[in-house]
Symmetry: C2
Subunit: 508 residues, 2 copies
Amino acid sequence: MSEPGTSEQEPSVQGDSPPGRTDEDAGEGTQSSHRMLGFSDALLSIIATVMILPVTHTEISPEQQFDRSMQRLLATRIAVYLMTFLIVTGAWAAHTRLFQVVGKIDDTLALLNLACMMTITFLPYTFSLMVTFPNVALGIFLFCVCVITIGVVQALIVGYAFYFPHLLSPQIQCSAHRALCRRQVLRIILRGPVLCLLAAVFSLFFFPASYLLMASVVFLPYVSKAASWCKDRLMGRTEPTAHPVELITLDLHEPLSKERVEAFSDGVYAIVATLLILDICADSVPDPKAVASDFGGSLLAALGARGPRFLAYFGSFATVGLLWFTHHSLFLHVRKATGAMGLLNALSLAFVGGLPLAYQQTSAFARQPRDELERVRLSCAIIFLASIFQVAIWTAALLREAETLRPAVRFGGPEHTFMLAKLALYPCTSLLAFAATCLLSRFSTFIFHLTQIAVPCGFLLLRLLLRLALAGLRGLRGLRGLARPQRGPLGGADANADMQSPLLPAPC
Amino acid sequence: MSEPGTSEQEPSVQGDSPPGRTDEDAGEGTQSSHRMLGFSDALLSIIATVMILPVTHTEISPEQQFDRSMQRLLATRIAVYLMTFLIVTGAWAAHTRLFQVVGKIDDTLALLNLACMMTITFLPYTFSLMVTFPNVALGIFLFCVCVITIGVVQALIVGYAFYFPHLLSPQIQCSAHRALCRRQVLRIILRGPVLCLLAAVFSLFFFPASYLLMASVVFLPYVSKAASWCKDRLMGRTEPTAHPVELITLDLHEPLSKERVEAFSDGVYAIVATLLILDICADSVPDPKAVASDFGGSLLAALGARGPRFLAYFGSFATVGLLWFTHHSLFLHVRKATGAMGLLNALSLAFVGGLPLAYQQTSAFARQPRDELERVRLSCAIIFLASIFQVAIWTAALLREAETLRPAVRFGGPEHTFMLAKLALYPCTSLLAFAATCLLSRFSTFIFHLTQIAVPCGFLLLRLLLRLALAGLRGLRGLRGLARPQRGPLGGADANADMQSPLLPAPC
């Protein structure tokens, strides 16, 4: 029993947190914010993604045609899901930037953060309400009140952190312009809520103005940045205006914390994978009475009838898992995530969140064979969109590769081609599958399942396949080179050719 | 465009991963396992918890009495949920210990881990099947096949890691007994699957043996530990037998990685909080036609009718959030999580997972007023069990406080009483609420909601309340001390009294 206050050398114990990340500074009651932010990321990612469930639960009874009105209903619900996803992701991004201000937390900040989480969880509901009742003032009003409440709680967090400066991040603590910093942070945090306050007021007598004001919340950062860029150009300034406090903006180009982007993405992938098994567990345990009456008591037959669902489940889980795998591989090489990468990541995740819909569609093959073609195409489209935005993240990173990427994967680096191959696998195969269903529409299901099995094998053999492809390419270039007069020894010409074509990196 | 292979000094960039945790060792293609393990924890925690949904979706129509058969159905489903939760948590714990062997991962290990995840996600389904059809061989067989497949994939992971020793954790890499270590790890991993293989064989002709074998998978580690303890005692050995390779066991007392326990717990809390909002979003957006017909077009009236659901939601979210908060506070002071703490944590989380059930019950107050009392009591019981197991974790930690806890919270430490107060708040208030409903059964709903509002305020004011309580206690002791002859100055006697009663720590 150690006496209170005695400092002692504690022997290092297996399982201790890594050095440099002490959880508690007991004297001040402050704590590392790491776990709380991880919890917030998990919560927000799940909130964003579960809004796909109303879409998957859109009852399409077997007698109903997959006709225009059904397509329209589905399209509306998908649009609502996408917008809700992006709204929650926006709230998450704001939360990320807010906690760049805060370095450590204490109990009060942890509780305030919980209040912030609670208000953010209400965003999807109020948004759905607003969309269902677009002409009713109350819908708009409630959504705006939700946004205002979030802003107020976040302002409280900022105010509290600045009131106890030891809670601030080291940069801001040591800054000479702390009051200026606080004003700027509050201005950014309250910008959206103030616009929503105006929108709430306008909703009482003039709807279109409300919707315009709410849309401006989204576009204002971009508009103001474009405006300042134009102003700089007009005044002949080639460098952006120096600002004493540039620590926090909602600028598209400012970095997001890479750890938080990864945590948020992992949450989305995890909940999507789980939604798939949930559908299985909920519906696929046969009822004993049904087994006795319909299948003569044979459980095997009852399960066999559900075979396509399990097949679809394995294929979909493999898809989600491999999309996570490519995301993981990509972010291993990312040093810093810019705002543009964050936005493209959100779009990619939004379509990953649509995968349960693809699963549900493909698992209904046996029941509704005539719609097979549309279902396969929908699934291919969702997978294509989810994966092509990953390629877009990669492209955005390449545009500023000195900052964002590690040397190995930059253009011309040894791992560049392999990374490109990994990222390109899903877009190419889903496009191929889509094209194949256009040509061989009768075998669409078979093609789809074949693709779902082929892709994992493709990943496992990717390095081998890539070497073969590159060897083949070199062989072709060698043949072309033989046709022209040589300038030097074959090895020298090849080496020159290699250095001139960064697409052919050193053998991987 | 850097040339391949050139090493250069990269300026430190804001947003970089913290030093000491480089993501990729490009030369060997190995990566830190941190993110993959976080993803696995998120996935498994969600899998474990969503099995509460079939319970909450047990349709209790308003006309039906909450009678014995309904209670029995509910109880059966709750039992299945609890067992599934503990099974998945067991699989997660095995995964944790498996990856204590692996230090770094590469692409192949990441893909193998995805395969492991996919097989684990099938555990709840096969278990539900087995429980629904207890006398059908196929049910037992499929469950055992699932466990065997998990074992095989994990054995592949171990084999792969030992085949490429640079992937192993540093302790094992440098160990002289690597082959012995591998044999022991494989023996532990395959112990359960081998027993399930036997169970699968027995299921074809003799069920009880199958169930017995499967139960032994759970109890075998405890039985073997008890047996070796008895053997040591009989042979007069007071120290446990020294074993050259004690790096990995499934011993109850071996530590789990604290980070993974926190990540798994965060996943459970996050999904539970989300399940609550999901119920709201799914059912509580009024249908425009219904609003027009039932409420005369007034959205406000339609929402007002759902008022109790929102109230119940806020209360339940506050409960989940504050239970997370106490868990977070507790683990801040934990240095090492023992196996016993891990088991108690799993039990606490299992009951946290039952909170959506409590929410669903309490939100039905308005519709089914006659069952209010049972519903409130059920909710109080669930909250009590969830929080009392947190106290149990704390107690288990105190039993080995030199290893498990930081000095500040050990018995007699300055933060000890405050931590105890935090942990005791929920058990006490839920017990009080339960007792109050026995005395004032007519006001049970009011009592319940009052409690849900009072507790957050209690947390915010806890330090203040504790100081008042301790001052009160000291005042009482002072009064008693005045009645006895004093031994020294009042301050000295007080100081002595304080040191003799570690329950009165230094003012917090």
